[in-house]
Amino acid sequence: MDFLPPDFTLAYPELFLLVMVCVVMLVDLIVGEKRRYFAFFLAQFALIGCAVLTYTSFSSEINYTFSGMFVDDAMSDTLKLMVYATVAAVLIYSRTYIGVRGMFKGEFFSLALFATLGMMVMISASHFMTLYLGLELLSLSLYAMVALQRESTIATEAAMKFFVLGALASGFLLYGMSMVYGATGTLHTTKLSEIIQSGMIDHAVLVVGLVFIVAGISFKLSAVPFHMWAPDVYQGAPTAVTLFVGSAPKMAAFGFVMRLLVDGLGELVSDWQGMLVILAVASMAIGNVVAIVQTNIKRMLAYSTISHMGFVLLGFIAAGGNGYSSSLFYVAAYVLMTLGAFGIVMILSREGFESENISDFKGLNQRNPLLALIMMFLMLSMAGIPPMIGFYAKLSVLQAVLSAGYIWLAVVAVLLSLIGAFYYLRIIKFMYFDAPESDIPILPAMDIKMLISINGLAVIMLGIFPQTLMGLSLYVIQQSM
């Protein structure tokens, strides 16, 4: 038997990033305390490099390598590009925040890049083992990042909770995968559907496996009832890490669901649809209702994330190119909004002052009208008010759900988002209607100010001109199915 080396070209971005992570770690050992920003620039360079590699190799064909364990298609390339952009933005937003908290160290950047690598592997996996590998690389990096602030007990507690529950979820996932393997005899996502189609398998075993897989996925998406970790981790982690946990991994999770449920277990769509309906409704209900009573902005945004994930699941329930592409659009819109919201929370935090309470937003319009305006755009977008992007994301998901015949689900979803509108409006109320509690000026660094302005502008401009992102979502999903 001839041994042919696998085609490495498809995995160049991953390999490049792996090398760069090692470089970041080594360089950080050599340079002194004064030159920490080296690591920052290297990390940004790594992301740009990956983006160039991914972009130049962008193809609308589906290519497999590493014995069919790794796939490169339009969806994976697009998701990866989105992940790079998100991580790069997260690093810029975090710069001053982690700087004054003594976390501006190589570890932060190398862990962030390792997590990025994990996400890339997840997005490009076409085998259960690769999927799991990527997932664990991401999760372990995230656990460590949450615990990065050693002196903070609340962060340590959050990390502990995250780790224990995360490990449990991974266990669920592995157990489910082993059941699927037991029923079908393969771990390749591409071969699964053929085998299931042949009808020569034990459907019961397969569905039991599916239940465990869906449970594992729900944990990663923080869908109710597997959401318990999210509020504690969001609140406990340093805000920079919260931003990281809440943004890019959701894109990876989207890819993960696509690979597992759609590519792999697409034949069982009628089985998992029912499960996702319950998860989606519960997420939207619990997320929106519980968010109302929160006084901590990070906790509130955690519950808001939970409800948004319910909406993402709606797209999967609708199924088909229409449904998945609207989910993808929703995830992209969600990440854009989350980036901005946590970005502003970090801008409001200073050395020795952690902006955590919603009341810290009081009178922001008087203190810094630009930030208040951007935050208003973000909140209206999350509430789904046009002409912000959040509305068009909801519109496309709802239209997919309705086309799939779930009228009641669409009605439930809009009524629950009405409840959601209340707590987003409360933030606007604090910013515009109340007098400020402190008059310390808010002076974000130039690059952060630029980025937040672009972010705010994107939320409204991509809403007024949604075709680009919507069309792209549809195109990549159609190319990859």
């Binding site: 309705l402 509108a421 209607f433 949604p466 075709q467």
Partner: protein, 494 residues
């Protein structure tokens, strides 16, 4: 399009762009610049809207000044605007009210002036967009976006209980709109992927979905109108809003609901409209009679006018669902006339409020001794509100009552009670505030209206009298469109 020139887009976007400029360059040190810029912008907004009237062909019932471009292909959404005899007068009304609102806030608003003016101008453009949209997504975008500036206006420049009022206003309207969104997406689904409102007019729909669609639209529009029993947000919003906010709310935003019935409910679900007409008539009559009685008991002038608005808007919905020419046209006239009268009434209360910072009727009395010119204007508008012949208030009400008599004598009987009730609550309030001896030392110190206030009230007085004496220019332009609508409704869509 007018000779290839996108006139309607200009009417929509000019105020928005000027509003953004005011927001961007305005600061609290140089408020005069923001004020003049806004006034010039608002007046230009009115001037560019005038060709909509002069170039309008009243013989046509189809859409005019149409512009259509692809907005986003993914969901087959178009930037599709156009006006007919129903929407054109409402756009003109809006463009007419906007400069008045800018003038009304001239000396009164002192905090964050550029944000205040910017919000009004942006809202003016958005409301024009609502009236002009012929694409459901475009319509919904403008419809919801109009909430944002109003929310800010009530919440930032409003009275003591403004936060409650602002949030109630926002959530109430959002509740109605979200179900409308579902109905629109459903229509998109059954029309094989079209968001064109005009396509929906021709779309055959079975009875059950028609009724559900009608109810979804009803919720959205009933909240906006507002109809009894979903009117409770309006008194709160009016009482807390600054004068300019109240004027726009009463004169313009309530008309969005009425307009919705004519553009969506009646033509899209004609069979359901016929089937449920009695229900709407019942709700409208309750609004006319019961809310009229409620208005009688109010101690707060703004609240009284707010309830009077609900009662008068009950006339509008009543007229629509008489489903005859007189009823629908009368209701349209009533909408325009209510825009002038309620705007003027709120301005009058604003004049008093700016001086004494009270809206309580009990705090006034004998104002005529100190402000005779103001009292004369207030008298005219109060009479118009009560429906005195010769004022615009009479024309609409009379037409609707005539339309109602054709359908059912008792409808007309109850509707006509508004002439008694309206006179009772308006004139009783007027008597207590204006006539009698000077009530207290505060009233003693009142000064008559300034030039600025005089200009505002004169303009509105002319409008009220003109429409009352010679309403033909208004009824002429809507005649063909209304006839076409009623003709359309005679064909079942089942």
């Amino acid at each position: 399009m007018l000779f290839g020139f996108p006139l309607l887009s200009l009417v929509i976007w000019l105020p928005i762009i000027v509003g953004l400029i005011v927001l961007a360059i305005g600061n609290d040190r140089n408020t005069l610049l923001s004020r003049w810029l806004s006034l010039v912008g608002a007046i230009f907004g009115l001037i560019v809207a005038l060709p909509l009237y002069t170039r309008f062909d009243p013989a046509l019932s189809t859409m005019q000044f149409v512009e259509q471009y692809v907005w986003f292909e993914r969901l087959n959404v178009y930037y599709h605007v156009g006006v007919d005899g129903i929407s054109m007068p409402l756009i003109l009304l809006n463009c007419f009210i906007t400069p008045l609102v800018v003038i009304a806030g001239w000396e009164v608003i002192r905090e964050r002036v550029s944000q205040y003016l910017g919000a009004f101008l942006i809202m003016s453009g958005i409301v024009n967009g609502v009236f002009a949209s012929l694409d459901a997504v475009l319509f919904y975008t403008f419809w919801e976006a109009s909430l944002i500036p109003m929310f800010i206006i009530i919440g930032v420049w409003g009275g003591p209980n403004r936060v409650y009022a602002a949030i109630k206003f926002f959530l109430y309207t959002l509740l109605g709109s979200l179900l409308m969104l579902i109905a629109l997406i459903y229509l998109y689904h059954v029309s094989d992927g079209s968001f064109s409102i005009l396509d929906y007019h021709q779309l055959p729909i079975a009875m059950t979905p028609q009724i559900l669609i009608f109810i979804a639209f009803l919720l959205a529009f009933a909240v906006k109108v507002p109809m009894w029993p979903v009117h409770t947000w309006l008194p709160d919003a009016h009482v807390e809003a600054p004068t300019g906010g109240s004027v726009v709310l009463a004169a313009i935003l309530l008309k969005l609901g009425g307009y919705g019935f004519l553009r969506f409910s009646l033509p899209i679900a004609p069979d359901a409209s016929l089937y449920l007409a009695d229900l709407i008539v019942l709700l409208s009559l309750i609004a006319v009679v019961y809310i009229g009685l409620v208005a009688l008991m109010q101690q707060d002038m703004k609240k009284l006018i707010a309830y009077s608005s609900v009662s008068h808007m009950g006339f509008v919905t009543l007229g629509f669902f008489m489903l005859n020419g007189l009823g629908v046209e009368g209701a349209m006239v009533q909408m325009i006339s209510h825009g002038f009268i309620s705007g003027a009434m709120f301005l009058c209360v604003g004049v008093l409020y700016d001086r004494l910072h009270s809206r309580q009727i009990a705090d006034y009395g004998g104002v005529i001794n100190k402000m005779p010119i103001f009292a004369a204007f207030f008298m005219l508008f109060a009479m118009a509100n009560a429906g005195l012949p010769g004022t615009s208030g009479f024309v609409g009400e009379f037409m609707v009552i005539m339309g109602a008599i054709e359908v059912n004598f008792w409808y007309a009987f109850f509707a006509a009670m508004t002439l008694i009730l309206g006179a009772a609550y308006t004139l009783w309030m007027y008597k207590r505030v204006i006539f009698g001896a000077v009530a207290n030392s505060n009233v003693e110190g009142l000064e008559d209206i300034s030039k600025r206030e005089f200009i505002l009230l004169v303009i509105l007085a002319i409008a009220v009298l003109w429409l009352g004496i010679y309403p033909f220019p208004l009824t002429e332009i809507m005649h063909a469109t209304v006839d076409n609508l009623l003709e359309h409704m005679t064909h079942s869509k089942l």
